[in-house]
Symmetry: C2
Subunit: 343 residues, 2 copies
Amino acid sequence: MNLKELSQNLGLSQTTVSRALNGYPEVSPATRARVEEAARAFNYRPSTRAKGLATGQALAIGHVIPMSSKHEMVNPIFGDFIAGAGETYARHGYEMILSIVDDKNETSVYQGLKSRRAVDGVIVHGPRMNDTRIPLLAKLGLPFAVHGRASGCTVPYAWLDVNNRSAFERATKYLYDLGHRRIALLNGLEDMDFAHRRRDGYMSALTAQGLSVDTSLMRSGEMTELSGYGATREMLARPGAPTAILCSSLISALGVRRAIEEKGLVMGKDVSVITHDDVLSYLKNGEEVPIFTATRSSVRDAGRKLAEMLLQAIANPEAAPCSELLEAELIVGASTGPAPRKD
Amino acid sequence: MNLKELSQNLGLSQTTVSRALNGYPEVSPATRARVEEAARAFNYRPSTRAKGLATGQALAIGHVIPMSSKHEMVNPIFGDFIAGAGETYARHGYEMILSIVDDKNETSVYQGLKSRRAVDGVIVHGPRMNDTRIPLLAKLGLPFAVHGRASGCTVPYAWLDVNNRSAFERATKYLYDLGHRRIALLNGLEDMDFAHRRRDGYMSALTAQGLSVDTSLMRSGEMTELSGYGATREMLARPGAPTAILCSSLISALGVRRAIEEKGLVMGKDVSVITHDDVLSYLKNGEEVPIFTATRSSVRDAGRKLAEMLLQAIANPEAAPCSELLEAELIVGASTGPAPRKD
DNA sequence: AGCTTCATCCAAAGCGCTTTGGGAACTGAT
DNA sequence: ATCAGTTCCCAAAGCGCTTTGGATGAAGCT
């Protein structure tokens, strides 16, 4: 069923039917009701493509998911972020279109989305330091919003980020206050912006307390269970082992715990652990009592909000780019406790 | 830059330019070269919407991700599956459009995709027993392919599935051969088709060996770390505790391991564990030596292949629906060993 | 009555592409 | 020189919608 058929069925012009369905005022209430009724009966929905062609909008948002060609790895937070964003799009009648792209082809994918007029805007995932995508998108004139930030980018842009610096600063301080002096950091990949900020927060808290930064207690890499396990195991085996570990993801925290327990130590007593928790739906941090003390911030919420911001920006192209900095909660769970006394 | 401008620039008609770019023969090689050169120079790409309107194709595939409204849970395998499918789409010039839908609205979402002509076909995720989506899609006449199968659905349809039954049958038999007699099953949600098949395989292997099925050793639910932990902990505390556990996901297997180790037991010695492993990029089952003995089948591969099947079906609407049954590998890792001797 | 105003509706153009149905120019054969 | 057959190109229609610029008639006013 298309507009033409529907209007013929009703004995009306396409103009009138279109206007009736789109809420324009030049249609009598009686006619509008009749049209809406018929549309429902015939299960009519305007073709997105035709509508898009006519209006010049795509009614779609692009999500370009970077996949490191090295690691063939999809960010595990991606599913929940998308779920949040999807809610927003559904509410606004937008579609979400997804491209999985290895980092080499990124430029051409963004150009393609722009020149094929496939989307009205894009969400940028996983920003790196000095991310080249941001100036590129600005140059292309394709509206965009970034999940995170990119230190070093000078053009203004819309973003939504967790205050990673403050979260890790507070977490470090919390461990310090519990008496810990040898605090390790298991961070994400170095060139990711969030990892950089977390390290900043960590180091700033250490120095604020007059502690020196010990690079032998710092690791960065992909955040897998194994990497958490391996790093912890190795650190605990050495002299000067940490009494507390700050960890960037719940997945690697599972590995951290395993290494601790394998050594016959008790998490929260012999070694304290704080992890960042993105509140992933398939990886809950305990039920009532959190297993891990964590800096918590829901990535699904972030998806919802960032999508909203982007739609705003598209509707309102003149406005200056918005941004939002979410504070992570520091929730106390069973994985932290006072530093063990040296006897 | 659009076709009109490009063709004016070249002093050619739109027809000729279109044909040159789409590989039609009625264009001289010289002209074609000139056109292609100009298209590259101006970074011209045809508008997907316009092209779709003109050809009647959407050049897009829909992925409708069901989200249980109860659990607000996105399937963790989803990211990797999508990554695989995305590769295929990119190669064929298709777009992937995603809808996250809670189970209540499913029907209207599929109808919408169909009547708005937004996609050429859809992938059905997470089929349940007697899944209503399959007859619905068949009725709508929207091409589709299912990741998994739906027992009880009588209409023919295209699908790709892991042989869950045989995988769990073999895994159970393997444990039996190692001397295990009390083998537990931690399964996914009961109404999911794959869970049903895995249980079948498990029970069939038990009875084939003359063992009776002990329902107190069977659990089903969402596959989280916590559920694996909780179920294992509880089972190990009881008399008649299992000496081996068959587990439906690597995530819950992590919980299983934790419960085992917490009790001071050694995985692979006191308690053997086999898990299904979807080869998720962010959750590798060890590096050289697998941590867990596992039934392994790459979900990313499944995404690639199923997308290919769907595109085939769309290109060739007359053909009978294809299907493919992938056998999972049974890979031996460190988590299994002979059943402990009762002294 | 004659005029202006509304309230409703419609025909037709246009969005950017593909595709149909020719048309010119050039070949080679008669 | 004529004619059919190629080769290469083009004008225009059409995909399904929105939107512009009226048209029509009823109602209100002088």
